[in-house]
Symmetry: C2
DNA sequence: AAAATAAACGCAACTATGTTGCAATTAAGG
DNA sequence: CCTTAATTGCAACATAGTTGCGTTTATTTT
């Protein structure tokens, strides 16, 4: 089964029409070797209307198909969800790493499970954003 | 030594003039019982010019006097720096917790040190954003 | 295969924050 | 009190977010 068929099935599974725009956006996000910055999506999809891009991204986020990987509140990055996610629950066990040199953001699985405890508090979600220097930039 | 004198000294230490605007902003941020959302700063300082607020916040961030406590990319929250920080290095050992119920964001010290390791990568900074339900909202 | 329908799309319009330049004001030091 | 460099307010521009609405289209129904 080719990637386009896969995306079509994925979209329909989330009750979203498999339109050319959505398939194109997904292929752009999926084919990027790391988390893709918003500006890069714009570059690659400059023929999209601004609002369409906005709504398409939101639909994918809401459908649990992509997720944000923003690190340190500058540009927003997007990456495919690997696990099964929904709008309410993005089940990511990984962390986001941003290289301060090449500005690449990637989703990284950590071996040792992160244990965070806060007294008298119910923890629902933990997001970890790591920055430093990546393998290529050392 | 009263709080205003303290802030004046703090500003001068970072080579920033201790102007009434800056002292007022700092007192607003410091007197808030948790991390203060941007909109709340605006409410309390509606007599500030938009650009002045923008530049004052930036000066405080750059001077390592306040820091951002943004959680999940909605509104930006600000809090006083407790440790000695600079623009390049905000030395925060704490995590940011956001209550999904009351939307309060707070800086929380964690007892057990968080250990994150990523192979072939130099880690410079780790930011942890926790969300859930706070003590008051349980 | 054609028709029906609900969703998706493009365009216009508006809001909000970020950002810069410049002239006027003001804090800090002598 | 004077000087000077920093700070502030205003105007102006940029960009992302957001909504409404008429048109188009993917998918379902006949
Ligand atoms: Mn990720
Ligand atoms: Mn904090
Ligand atoms: Zn790198
Ligand atoms: Zn709460």
């Amino acid at each position: 089964m080719d990637i386009e068929t896969k995306f079509t099935a994925l979209l329909r599974d989330r009750n979203l029409k498999a339109t050319p725009k959505r398939l194109e956006l997904l292929s752009v996000v999926a084919n990027y070797n790391s988390a893709i910055p918003y500006s890069e999506i714009q570059n690659k999809l400059h023929h999209f209307d601004r609002v369409t891009l906005y709504r398409t991204l939101n639909a994918m986020l809401d459908g649990g198909i992509i997720h944000k990987a923003s690190v340190s509140s500058d540009e927003v990055y997007y990456a495919m969800c690997r696990e099964y996610c929904t709008s309410e629950c993005h089940n990511h066990k990984h962390v986001h790493f941003k290289c301060l040199q090449c500005l690449e953001v990637s989703c990284v699985d950590v071996t040792n499970p992160i244990q965070i405890q806060i007294p008298n508090v119910v923890i629902k979600q933990v997001e970890i954003e790591v920055s430093g220097v990546c393998e290529k930039c050392i």
